[in-house]
Symmetry: C2
Subunit: 429 residues, 2 copies
């Protein structure tokens, strides 16, 4: 039990730097807990200026990540990023060489998870990726292990800290998306090109992974319905507050009789729901199992140190000899479940219209809703300077998405409606 | 890998019944995930009327739990309860016989955890107890494994669903403790003898276990400062609401320069804190690690099915060959850390006094506070029918407990103060 586990880290960006720090700073604690030393022996990073702030004496430094394959490492930690390219090549080669792989790369697992899982099984090694979903939150472990006795019916969460920070700040300050995004970029909470985050793609990668672990099905990123938060306005956030909701970008996966539904979009959640209190850069994952009922796991969704915590949790499992199948069951036993399309989704809706106040405008709106079996729950109208456009906000319940979409199409074509209707789904948890 | 893991369950009460149900109902799912069958082979329960609602065909039924030791079982699941007696004897004998042990028994682990851990290590078997803390929440796994890379500085939580249900219902209905307790007893949320729950002992057992796992020290139940919720009044809950707080019974463990502080008592927590939104029978554990920062884990803290989920998580770890030391490090390596006594605790306080409104009453109160270096943050006085006692509520910050206690003693002796002062600590998370 005292043979050291030798670690090679590829990529010394934010997560790589944090991982190296943790392995060095908490080495004694980790050895005591794992019953053996967990030793950083090599790193691979072409940019020699990326020094992690701890002594690298005695640690091999390669420019080329592939050099880790032939080196004296038992675990290759892939922290380079990207859904293919060198990250994929490195993981494939490492598994083929009989090494364990730990990665924080959600895009890679969302796109190539199954083939990598098969390679790991063939080699009898481990492929872990806790840091890919929910940053420091050990949610993959909770679902694959702690709640392993449960059939899961639903898993959802706030999976992107950038979006949650922007939505929280919009609510707290009353400012618009574009302005808050710029500020988040200045603070380093958003990338220069923010589209992966704010358009929901990052959330969709993570959701696709959670879906596979929860339902034992193959990762199906293409089946995720994806909308981001660019169209959420300060007005929507203000109306949500009045109606008793908070707006969160959620990834939601449900197992229904009609198939698996995976969707990423802004949601209104009741202010009293525990997930509504998860603010700023924090993430949260709610899992609903047939025995455990509802659980929620909250933590920092990104950042050097929290993500390093998750990476090292994966490494420690290897040090302790644990080998759980990548997606909870053997890759060959993962099912292919049918997809329930978004048009079939049923739920409640918030709709905000901008109309000029002419005779007949409400009759047009009410007629379009009636024609598509959409029933109204409440209406708010605000602002009434004569001749000026006014906001009309409606909440609608128990509607099939296809009907809602059709009704909105008809409403948009009404002469008094001067902007495209804005729609946000309401979740009833 | 296809050798079945044979399970013997001792005790078919609430948790035992749920565990048997889970093992039977989700047997296929569990086998697929563990890579081998997990098979219930025997139960032990003297009361033959306790049938778990699934077919027991082919399963041995013993009256005496000790019969499991000589039977064909690999894992003995102790769900009898009690801090000693047959539960202790069974676990000791099982470990000595080289069997793995899973238990949901917090009192047993809080009182005999170290000796049982040593016995498990000696035998090379596993002692798991996830269900002992936080019901269905896989928090022991999260701390021992998922967040294994972290040094922990603080762990706290809502650890007793009965108390949280009572406090939530008191707030929602404005009723007093005694009335809500009776209702909880009628609904089965509280025991006929509720003292273990409402006097904080159950929370203290769970906290002592969390402390050991977090800080790598021996379980020290005797060092826990314990207060329950009997003295929390409807008035206190109403004043908390006005001041922006919710009242929760928390167990809090902190590692400080002066030693380990373990305390169980009602706390006022800010309404905006995520833990304030954890209501009813739900539990929550917040852990603060040096890399992961703050995490929160929420779920049902009791009940047949959630607790069974945790028990089966422990069993599955054994099926997969995982053996993590009972308290995160080897029992022989657990430290003995000094205790920081409650008198040394420093924090903010809420105090409610009942006074008759006479000249000089405020001078007496203010003088007592001044004499003990306690500084006031805010005061509310309510009700002023002439000659009637009135409530005076104060909040006080950054006070050492010994000073607060001394000041309250002096205040209580003031002639205008007609009831013992009520004090609730305010937590600043």
């Amino acid at each position: 039990m005292s043979t050291p586990l030798r670690i090679g880290v590829a990529g010394l960006g934010t997560i790589g730097g944090g991982t190296v720090k943790l392995l060095v700073e908490n080495a004694d604690l980790l050895a005591a807990r794992c019953g053996r030393p967990v030793t950083l022996t090599a790193v691979a990073e072409p940019n020699r200026n990326r020094t992690p702030g701890v002594s690298m004496d005695g640690i091999e430094w390669h420019d080329d990540a592939m050099a880790l394959i032939d080196g004296d490492v038992d675990v290759v930690v892939e922290l380079i990023g990207g859904s293919g390219g060198i990250a994929l090549k490195l993981c494939q080669a490492a598994l083929e060489a009989g090494k364990h792989v730990v990665t924080a790369n959600k895009a890679l697992i969302a796109h190539h998870g199954k083939e990598l899982a098969e390679a790991a099984e063939k080699a009898g090694t481990v492929l872990n990726y806790e840091a890919a979903v929910g940053g420091g939150i050990p949610i993959i472990k909770a679902m694959r292990e702690g709640m392993v006795g449960n059939g899961f019916s639903r898993v959802y969460g706030i999976l992107n800290g950038t979006c949650n920070y922007i939505l929280t700040t919009m609510r707290e300050t009353g400012r618009e998306f574009a302005e808050v995004l710029r500020e988040a970029q200045d603070l380093g909470y958003a990338e220069a090109d923010p589209s992966f985050d704010v358009d929901g793609v990052d959330t969709a990668h993570k959701l696709a992974i959670l879906t596979s672990v929860a339902f034992g099905c193959e990762v199906d990123f293409e089946a995720v319905h994806v909308e981001g938060i660019r169209h959420v306005s300060a007005d929507d956030i203000q109306f949500a507050e009045e109606l008793g909701y908070r707006i969160k970008l959620l990834g939601v996966a449900s197992r229904t009789d009609g198939g698996v539904e995976q969707r990423v979009h802004p949601c209104m959640v009741p202010k009293s729901a525990p997930i509504a209190a998860v603010e700023g850069v924090f993430n949260a994952v709610v899992a609903h199992g047939d025995f455990v009922d509802t659980t929620m796991h909250v933590g920092r969704g990104a950042g050097e140190r929290p993500t390093a915590s998750a990476v090292v949790g994966d490494i420690a499992d290897i040090a302790r000899g644990l080998n759980v199948p990548t997606f909870g069951v053997k890759a060959s036993e993962l099912s292919r479940l049918p997809t329930r399309r978004m048009a079939e989704h049923a739920g409640a809706y918030y709709v905000r219209l901008t109309v000029v106040d002419k005779p007949g405008v409400f009759a047009d709106i009410a007629g379009a809703l009636r024609d598509h079996q959409v029933s109204m729950e409440s209406v708010i109208q605000r602002g009434r300077a004569p001749g000026e456009p006014v906001s009309v906000v409606m909440t609608l319940h128990n509607t099939v998405e296809a009907d809602m979409t059709a009704a909105l199409g008809k409403i948009e074509s009404a002469p008094a409606v001067v902007e495209a209707p804005r729609m946000i789904r309401i979740e009833g948890f």
